[in-house]
């Protein structure tokens, strides 16, 4: 086991059981995270990206099943634990104190009937810590200040008095309460205006450099991922299509899907003439296409692509692609 990797996801597969059958939401996901890095998992809606987070933290909904794979987490003392195998009790201790997850859709995450400060107090109590009120206040206030908020004022407010962006940042502060080693964020920028989003990205960057914390976030917004992340994993139809350092994946995308995605972005810079829309419809996770899940929309598709699903091929140092074009 490579000692600098704080998290290793190996062959993780998860499905959701529904009346019509099973939704293959995550298929054979392989992803490593270096300690202190920011990794982005990029995928569209229903690509399976949130499923990976849920599977990793074992917080799948009742109809979700993990059907294979391991997630190795390296603790402070260097030992590796397999998050898929440890007991529920142990996992609960790890969750929030070492691995914190900030959920999506901030609207409902905060209790509207209690003040922000009470949220912090409740969290401390729920985890069995015995901190004094003043300690909690100071720590919470500091964290909120780090987020660019007026800590004391926010702590006294009710959630509905805060704007969407402020609530998002409050949730992040809440998740940092116990100094976790890994911070996982599910679509942190989705519901935000562009200026608020820019502010949040800046805040995330700052806490990353200040706290030296490992961050993993899931987003459908490729440019946001490109801006923040050191490493990227591109998910399509439940499969990991490409992964590597951000500059490699964005600067020189190898997978046809990544290439197509980058060229279809409507950005505020860049040549407008070069924008190329991608044809086709999203794949069904209930009945995925045979072979490579992207082949129906792929401009480079070969005969083999509709029959066999390719494995991950290494194309460069720390750059892997799931595409038959790169079979050496």
């Amino acid at each position: 086991m490579n000692d600098s990797k704080i998290l290793r996801i190996e062959n993780l597969s998860a499905i959701y059981l529904v009346r019509e059958g099973s939704i293959k939401a995550a298929v054979d996901i392989n992803l490593d995270m270096e300690e202190g890095s920011i990794t982005a998992i990029v995928g569209e809606s229903a690509s399976g990206k949130s499923t990976i987070l849920e599977a990793m933290t074992r917080s799948l909904p009742p109809n979700g099943r993990i059907i294979g794979g391991n997630v190795y987490y390296r603790r402070n003392n260097g030992d590796y634990v397999n998050l898929m195998e440890i007991k529920e009790e142990e996992l609960r201790k790890l969750r929030w104190s070492e691995i914190a997850l900030v959920p999506q859709a901030v609207q409902n995450a905060l209790n509207p009937t209690i003040r922000v400060f009470d949220h912090f107090v409740d969290t401390v109590e729920d985890h069995g810590y015995n901190w004094k009120i003043k300690e909690i206040w100071d720590k919470a206030s500091n964290l909120l200040d780090m987020m660019g908020l007026d800590g004391d004022r926010v702590l006294r407010s009710f959630p509905h008095e805060l704007s969407g962006g402020m609530r998002q940042r409050t949730l992040i502060a809440l998740s940092l309460l116990f100094d976790p080693r890994i911070l996982i964020l599910d679509e942190p920028t989705s519901a935000l205006d562009v200026l608020t989003q820019a502010r949040l990205i800046r805040v995330l960057d700052e806490i990353h450099s200040k706290l030296k914390i490992t961050m993993i976030f899931v987003t459908h917004d490729l440019p946001v991922a490109a801006e923040l992340a050191d490493y990227m994993g591109v998910i399509y139809g439940g499969n990991l299509m490409e992964r590597g350092r951000t500059e490699d994946v964005i600067g020189d995308p190898k997978h046809p899907y990544t290439k197509a995605l980058v060229s279809s972005l409507m950005l505020v810079v860049g040549s407008v003439e070069k924008i190329k829309p991608i044809p086709g419809e999203p794949p069904s996770l209930l009945n995925p296409p045979k072979g490579c899940v992207f082949h129906p929309r792929c401009p480079f598709k070969m005969d083999r692509c509709s029959k066999e699903s390719p494995p991950l091929f290494k194309v460069d140092e720390d750059h892997y692609v799931r595409c038959w074009l790169y079979e050496e």
């Binding site: 562009v194 440019p223 490109a226 500059e247 409507m266 505020v268 044809p279």
Partner: protein, 345 residues
């Protein structure tokens, strides 16, 4: 140069009054004295963040809501003054597409019916309904059309549904279409295709399309090559012009902040933009009521270039230099530093 004006809003305001006991009630202006002309066959984008009033503007322009004051003029007629019978004659000519296709298309009707119902209403002498529906589905890229006849909207993706919504909006043979945030709820890899569909529609048939979006990239793509972009802030238009002017040489600090805040896929560029942002935008939390209370520029709280005049006097939309098409509402117009991104590809 397309000169003919097909739709215009003259001094349109939409006010909500919040009444409070024991306190002076203050009016909330969703739209404030908007003057906007829409030219025939143009691709106009209206961009703004949430709270800018862009959806209110679109709905009033589409005749779905009434303004508190002002005139909404379609093809020369003020629709706010028309009786309902006369209004109904003009109604088919202006269509509106909603943001959420899952809500704007009835889930209990088949895809065939979604198009067949309005077809029966608007077209006489249809020889074969199936042929017409198939034709429409093909024109928006839903193929093979017959496969979808007896399917329901839930069998289509978000992008597919919006295509269906576009096909449906075309049935009354409108001259103007208002598309309200139609790609916001669709995944990234399908957005460009929908926007391109509308561009092609405009180029092929000359239909006037107004695209409302919070995403400048979408506006830039949609309006490039002859279109215009209007930037809205809290109920007012603060800048308007061609994409080359508004994005290539923005004159309003708010427009510059929006451009700087938009994510790009290049990390170095992103960092550079992020460093520049505070130059045009002061980050602070301000209550809506405070912003609305001042009589001057709505950007005053956040503007690094603000002076006394900005707080008290509302800036007018005025020409920028020689270009009569590029207008900006800022007392400091022309006095901002040179646009740093001018040289960026």
């Amino acid at each position: 140069m397309k000169n003919e004006i097909v739709m215009s809003l003259k001094n349109v305001s939409k006010v909500f009054v919040k009444r409070r006991f024991f306190k002076k009630s203050f009016p909330f202006y969703a739209l404030e004295n908007i003057d906007l002309n829409v030219l025939k066959g143009e691709r106009l984008s209206i961009i703004g963040e949430s709270g800018s009033g862009k959806t209110t503007l679109a709905r009033i322009a589409a005749g779905l809501d009434v303004p508190t004051e002002g005139a909404v003029i379609w093809f020369g007629e003020d629709i706010t003054k028309l009786k309902s019978r006369e209004f109904r004659k003009l109604r088919p000519k202006v269509q509106y597409i909603h943001q959420n296709p899952y809500a704007s298309i009835n889930p209990s009707r088949t895809i065939f019916d979604v198009l067949a119902d309005p077809l029966k209403r608007h077209e006489d002498n249809i020889e074969s309904l199936e042929e017409r529906v198939a034709e429409l589905l093909k024109s928006v890229g839903i193929v093979p059309p017959e496969f979808f006849f007896n399917k329901y909207p839930r069998h289509l993706s978000g992008g597919g549904l919006q295509r269906l919504a576009i096909a449906r909006a075309l049935i009354p043979k409108p001259e103007i279409i208002l598309a309200d945030e139609i790609v916001s709820m669709i995944d990234m890899s399908f957005r460009a295709a929908i926007v391109k569909l509308l561009i092609e529609l405009n180029e092929r048939t000359g239909i006037t399309i107004v695209m409302i979006s919070h995403d400048i990239g979408v506006a830039r793509y949609f309006s490039h090559n002859g279109g215009r972009i209007a930037v809205m802030l809290r109920g007012r238009i603060v800048e308007i012009g061609s994409p080359e002017s508004v994005i290539g040489n923005p004159m309003h600090p708010y427009t510059r902040s929006l451009i700087l805040a938009s994510p790009v896929a290049d990390k170095k560029l992103a960092i550079m933009k992020r460093e520049l942002l505070p130059k045009y935008n002061i980050q602070k939390e301000v209550w809506e009521s405070e912003i609305m209370r001042i009589s001057g520029c709505r950007y005053a709280f956040f503007c690094p270039f603000v002076d006394d005049k900005c707080w008290t006097e509302k800036p007018k939309l005025l020409k920028v230099g020689e270009d009569s098409e590029h207008r900006v509402a800022c007392h400091k117009a022309g006095k901002l530093p040179t646009w740093e991104l001018e040289s960026v590809e």
